[in-house]
Amino acid sequence: MHTKHMNTLKIIINECRNFILLGKISLGLALTLPMASCGKDDNSRPLYEDGKSNVIYDLAGDTEASMAGDVEGKEYRPFNIFLFRFHDQRQIWIKNANDSAQWLKTKDWDLAFTGPYNSELFVNNAYHEFNPGYGGETENTAVVLLRQPYEAVVEAPSDEEFDTSEVNKIGWAATESSPGWFRYSLQTHIMQALPNRTYAIRLPDGKYAKLQLINAYKGNPEAVTNMNWPAPYYTFRYYVQQDGSKNLNTREP
C-alpha cells in the first residue's frame, strides 16, 4: 500500500512538473518564440581518440555479399574473409585459394573478419580449430575477454590467464558466457556492439594489445535509422604496447 501511495504521489509530482514545463513553454512562446525552439539533445557521443590508440573508421567489409544477402533469386555467396594487420593497418582480402595459401598460415596478420557481415573475428592462432590460422605458424597468441570499458583496461592479464583462455571466435554474444562482441536484436535487426567488452591480446611477437569493436555500420552512427544502412563498415580501436610490457594504459598521462 505504501508504495502505491508513493507512486500516486510520484504521478502527481510528475504532473506538476509538466505543468511547470507547460507554463514555461507558454511563456517562452509569448515572449521569444525561437528560445523554445528545441530541447537539449542529451545523446552525446563518447570520444574514441585518446592520442595513443589507433582508431580505424569505416573499414569496409564484404559489402557486395551483404547487399545481395537476403534477396530471393540471387545466388547466396558467402562473405569473403579479410585480414587486418595491426602494425601497418593493412587490410588483406582472401577471395580465392591463392589468397588463402599466401596468407592464412602466416604470421603476417593479426585479425580475421569472417562469417556473415564479417562479424566473426579471430585472432591469428595455429591451435584453435576453425581459426583461419589453424595449422599455421602463429603460436603463442591468445585472447582474454575483459568485461570493462576500453579506457579502464590499463594492464594486460597474466600470461597464465592468456594460456588458459579458450576465446577463439569473437562474434554474436548470444549467451552470457559467449566471448562475442555484439548482439543482434531480432526486434530491431541491428547489430549492437556491447560497449563494455575489451579484448586483451597476446600477439605472435609476445607484445600485448587491447581491442574494442565499436560499430559495424557506415559512419559509426550511434543509432541506425534505416534497415538498409550500409554494413559492414567496421569502426574499432586498438592499442599495441610496443615496449613489450603489460601496460595498456591509453589515458592521457
Binding site: P34, P116, R183, Q187, H189, P195, N196, T225
Partner: protein
C-alpha cells in the same frame, strides 16, 4: 472549444426512436439536451427546407407535424450553446430525435458545424466500447488546415505517430495511450481497412478532405470490432447525405512542393429520396531528410509521394422502410525515394499501393423500434515495395503483397422500451492473401456475433454492457466483454468508468512460417512447425544445441494476445464556459507475442520461435480543460501521463537473465549489474505529452487564428547498449515542442475561404524523428458553389 469537443464522449448523439404510425402526415419530434443530459429549454429549432420554427419547452421538447417523407435538416440554436445542424431522413415513421448541445461557446462554430447523423452504415455506437471516445469534427480539421490523417491524429492528446525503424523505411504507425499500431484497428465507415507494414498502419494514406468526423476509441475495443482492436480503434466517418446541390474545390501549395487539391460535390435526387456525394483528391510532397549528418543531399528519410483518392457515396430510399447505401473508395500511392550514404552507396526505395473499398448496405426499419442493417464489404489492398543499390544493381529487398477481405454482417438495433437500447449482430469475414502457393492456410475465416445494451435504469445512470464472440479457422474462439457506467453525481459532475477486454489472434507467420535470413544467418520457426523443423535439423546433424525444456513448453501452446482496459474519470463543468475532464487508465496486455531463442545450429547460427511474454502495462492519466475566455477566444489544454512497461523485462532484470542483467553507459563509462529502476519503459512512448490550443476569431475581418503547441517529453528511440531494454544509456528523442499556426479568412458569405498554414513554426527536427519535417508553410483557398 475544439479540444472540448474531442474530449467529449458524445458531441452529438442522435438516437432513432421510430414509432409505427399509420398516419399519412408524419411527425418529427425530439429532445434537446446538454452535455450533462439536462433538457435545454427555449432553444430554437428550425426545420429546413420548410422553415418551420419551434421553441423547445422545459423538457427540451420540440415537434413538427404534417410532414412528408424526405430528407430534412434541423438547425438548433440557443445563445448558451453551440448551434448544431442535424440531417435526417424521414421515412413513413414518426421519428424522435435526441440532440445534444455543447455548453456556451463562441459562435465561430455556428456556421460550420454539420452534425450529421453519424450512423448511416453502422448501427454499433462507438460508445459501447465503454472506453473513452474522442471525437474530431470536420470543422476542427478545417481549422487545423491539415491534409493527411496522420497530421490530424498526432495533435490529439495521447496519440503519437511514430516510425517503426525495424519494419523498414516506410513503416509508420499510430500509437494510442501507449498501444502500438498493430493493436489499433483502423476503420472507414465502420469497416476495417487493410494494408499494414509489419503491423503498422500508415495514416498518411488517407486524405482528410472528405472526412465528416473521426472517432478515436482509447482502449480495448474487441467487443465492437473483434481481433486486432486489442488496444483501440480509429473510425473514420466520411461525408454522406445531401440537402442541396453544392460543390467545393480547394487547393493548397507550399513548402516541399506540397500540393493538395480536392474537388467535392453533393446532390440530392428523386425528390430527396436519394443523395450522392463524390470527392477526389490529389496530394503530393517532396519528402524530406532529417538525417543530413549521414545522408547526403537528394536523400529523404520521409519519402516523397503522390496520392490519388476518389470516393463516392450513394444513398437511395427504395421503399418507405428501406434505404440502400453504396460506398466506393479508391486510393493509390506512388513513391520513390533515395538514400545516399556515399557516391557508390545510393539506395533507391520504391513503393506502390492500391486500396479499394466497396461497401453496400441495406437499412430497414420495422415496427416497434426494430431496425436492421445488412452490410456487405469488399476491400482489396495491394502493395509492391523494392529497394535497390543503384551502383551495384543489386536488390536490397523486394516484396509484393496483396489481399482481399470479404465481410458480410447483419446488424439489429432494437428499443423495446424507452430506456433500453439493444444492438446485436452476426457475420463473417474471409481474408485471402494473393500468394496461395506457399501454404493453404493463407486465408483467414472469421465468424462473429455480438450484443450491446445501453440501459438507463434511472435518469442519472447510463450503463453499457457489450459482449462479442469471434471464431477463426486458424485460432480458437474468443469472448470479449465490456462494461461501462456513467453516473451524474451532481448536475455539473459526471462520473464515467469502463472496463473491457481485447485480443489479437496469432497470425499466419507466428504459427506456420519458417523463415531463414541468410545474411544474418538465423532461422525463425512458426510455433506450430517447431517440433517438425527441430526434428528435421536434428536428423541431418545440423543442430548443435537446443533448449528442449523450452521447446516442450512452447510447442502448440501459442496463445492469443489479450488486453484488459480500465478507465475511470470525471467530467466537471463548474461554470458553463469551463469544462474539465480528468481520467486515469490502466491497460494490461497479456501474452504479447515475441520471438525467443531456442537453440543454435551447426550451419544456422541461431534458431528462434515465437512465445507469449508474461505481460505489459500501459498506465497513466489524461486531462482535458477547455475554457471559453470571451465570445471569440477559446483556450484548451490536453495532457497525458503515461508509463508503458513490459513486466517481462522487469522479471528478467530481477532474475539476472542475460542480457538483461547488465547496465552499460558508454557515455559515463558506468558498467554494472542492472536494477529494475534502470528500466525506462517501452520505445517511442513519452512520459508526458501535452497540447495547448488557442482559437481566436476576429469578427470584423471574418478571420480566425488557431495556434497549437504540441509538446512531447523525451522518449526512447532505440536500444543501443545491448541489454535488450531501454535505460538511460540508450538513444532518446529529446523533449520538444511543435508549434502549428493556421489562419483562415472567409469572404463572400463564406463561399471563399483563404487559408495560411504554418506547421512546426519553431522548425524542430531530429535525426530520430524521421517523419517530422521542419517548418512547413502552405497557402491555399477553397471555394464553394451552392444552388440556392
Amino acid at each position: 472549444m475544439y479540444q472540448q469537443n474531442k474530449q467529449h464522449v458524445l458531441t452529438l448523439l442522435v438516437l432513432w426512436f421510430p414509432i409505427f404510425s399509420l398516419a399519412q402526415d408524419l411527425q418529427m419530434s425530439g429532445f434537446v439536451r446538454d452535455s450533462l443530459d439536462r433538457p435545454v429549454a427555449q432553444a430554437t429549432v428550425t426545420l429546413v427546407p420548410d422553415n418551420q420554427v419551434y421553441k423547445t419547452n422545459d423538457q427540451g421538447y420540440f415537434e413538427f407535424s404534417r410532414l412528408y417523407e424526405g430528407t430534412y435538416r434541423l438547425d438548433i440554436h440557443h445563445v448558451r450553446y453551440v448551434s448544431e445542424q442535424v440531417t435526417l431522413n424521414l421515412t413513413d415513421h414518426d421519428t424522435t430525435v435526441y440532440i445534444r448541445l455543447q455548453e456556451s461557446r463562441s459562435s465561430i462554430e455556428q456556421v460550420e458545424v454539420y452534425g450529421k447523423i453519424t450512423a448511416v452504415d453502422n448501427l454499433i455506437p462507438a460508445e459501447s466500447a465503454a472506453m473513452p471516445v474522442q471525437v474530431i469534427t470536420r470543422r476542427e480539421i478545417e481549422l487545423m488546415g491539415s491534409r493527411r490523417l496522420d497530421e490530424v491524429m498526432k495533435e490529439q492528446t495521447g496519440v503519437a505517430v511514430v516510425n517503426d525503424i525495424s519494419a523498414g523505411s516506410r513503416a509508420v504507425g499510430v500509437q494510442i495511450q501507449g498501444f502500438s499500431s498493430n493493436y489499433i484497428m483502423v476503420l472507414i465507415d465502420g469497416q476495417p481497412i487493410l494494408g499494414r507494414n509489419n503491423g503498422n498502419f500508415d495514416l498518411s494514406r488517407i486524405s482528410v478532405t472528405n472526412i465528416e468526423r473521426i472517432e478515436i476509441i482509447k482502449g480495448a475495443s474487441s467487443c465492437l470490432y473483434g481481433s486486432d482492436a486489442l488496444g483501440g480503434a480509429i473510425n473514420i466517418i466520411t461525408r454522406h447525405g445531401a440537402i442541396m446541390q453544392q460543390a467545393q474545390a480547394s487547393l493548397m501549395y507550399g513548402t516541399l512542393h506540397t500540393l493538395d487539391a480536392t474537388i467535392e460535390g453533393e446532390a440530392p435526387f428523386a425528390n430527396q429520396r436519394g443523395s450522392v456525394v463524390v470527392s477526389g483528391n490529389y496530394y503530393r510532397t517532396d519528402g524530406f531528410n532529417t538525417d543530413d549528418r549521414y545522408l547526403s543531399s537528394g536523400s529523404t528519410t520521409f519519402p516523397p509521394y503522390e496520392n490519388y483518392s476518389f470516393q463516392g457515396r450513394l444513398r437511395y430510399r427504395i421503399s418507405k422502410d428501406g434505404t440502400l447505401g453504396l460506398t466506393t473508395r479508391y486510393a493509390s500511392r506512388n513513391s520513390k525515394m533515395y538514400n545516399v550514404w556515399a557516391e557508390d552507396l545510393r539506395l533507391e526505395d520504391g513503393q506502390q499501393d492500391r486500396d479499394i473499398n466497396i461497401g453496400f448496405n441495406y437499412d430497414h426499419h420495422f415496427a416497434k423500434g426494430l431496425r436492421m442493417m445488412t452490410r456487405y464489404y469488399l476491400t482489396r489492398f495491394h502493395t509492391a515495395l523494392y529497394a535497390e543499390w543503384l551502383s551495384q544493381g543489386v536488390l536490397a529487398g523486394e516484396e509484393e503483397f496483396g489481399q482481399y477481405n470479404h465481410r458480410l454482417e447483419q446488424q439489429f438495433a432494437y428499443n423495446p422500451i424507452r430506456n433500453l437500447k439493444l444492438t446485436a449482430g452476426l457475420g463473417g469475414s474471409m481474408e485471402v492473401m494473393d500468394n496461395q502457393d506457399l501454404d493453404d492456410k493463407r486465408s483467414l475465416q472469421t465468424a462473429f456475433a455480438y450484443l450491446q445494451t445501453e440501459w438507463r435504469p434511472v435518469d442519472r445512470i447510463l450503463t453499457t454492457v457489450g459482449l462479442r464472440y469471434d471464431q477463426t479457422n486458424v485460432y480458437l474462439g474468443r469472448m470479449s466483454p465490456s462494461l461501462g457506467l456513467q453516473y451524474h453525481l451532481r448536475e455539473n459532475l459526471l462520473l464515467k468508468a469502463g472496463t473491457g477486454a481485447g485480443f489479437k489472434a496469432p497470425d499466419y507467420k507466428m504459427r506456420y512460417q519458417v523463415f531463414f535470413n541468410p545474411s544474418a544467418n538465423y532461422l525463425v520457426v512458426g510455433n506450430d512447425r517447431l517440433a517438425e523443423v527441430i526434428d528435421g535439423l536434428d536428423s541431418t546433424g545440423e543442430l548443435s544445441y537446443v533448449n528442449s525444456y523450452m521447446i516442450n513448453q512452447l510447442v502448440g501452446n501459442l496463445q492469443a494476445e489479450k488486453s484488459w482496459s480500465n478507465n475511470i474519470g470525471f467530467t466537471w463543468t463548474p461554470i458553463p464556459t469551463l469544462q474539465t475532464e480528468a481520467s486515469v487508465f490502466y491497460h494490461r496486455i497479456n501474452n504479447q507475442i515475441n520471438s525467443v531463442n531456442i537453440g543454435t545450429g551447426t550451419t544456422v547460427s541461431q534458431i528462434y520461435t515465437y512465445r507469449n511474454l508474461p505481460k505489459a502495462v500501459n498506465k497513466g492519466a489524461e486531462l482535458a480543460v477547455s475554457y471559453q475566455a470571451t465570445r471569440d477566444l477559446q483556450l484548451s489544454l490536453g495532457y497525458q501521463y503515461l508509463v508503458a512497461k513490459d513486466l517481462g523485462v522487469l522479471d528478467s532484470i530481477r532474475a539476472g537473465n542475460y542480457p538483461y542483467n547488465q547496465y552499460n553507459n558508454a557515455v559515463t563509462g558506468e558498467y554494472r549489474q542492472s536494477r529494475p529502476s534502470d528500466y525506462w519503459g517501452i520505445e517511442d512512448r513519452s512520459r508526458h505529452m501535452a497540447n495547448l490550443k488557442l482559437l481566436y476569431m476576429y469578427r470584423p475581418w471574418q478571420t480566425s487564428i488557431n495556434i497549437r503547441a504540441n509538446i512531447r517529453g523525451k522518449y526512447p528511440f532505440q536500444e543501443t547498449n545491448g541489454n535488450q531494454f531501454i535505460d538511460d544509456g540508450d538513444k532518446f528523442v529529446p523533449e520538444h515542442t511543435l508549434l502549428n499556426i493556421t489562419v483562415e479568412k472567409a469572404l463572400w458569405n463564406r463561399r471563399l475561404t483563404l487559408r495560411l498554414v504554418a506547421d512546426n513554426v519553431l522548425g524542430f527536427m531530429h535525426r530520430y524523428m524521421l517523419g517530422q519535417p521542419g517548418r512547413v508553410i502552405l497557402g491555399g483557398l477553397s471555394y464553394r458553389w451552392m444552388k440556392e
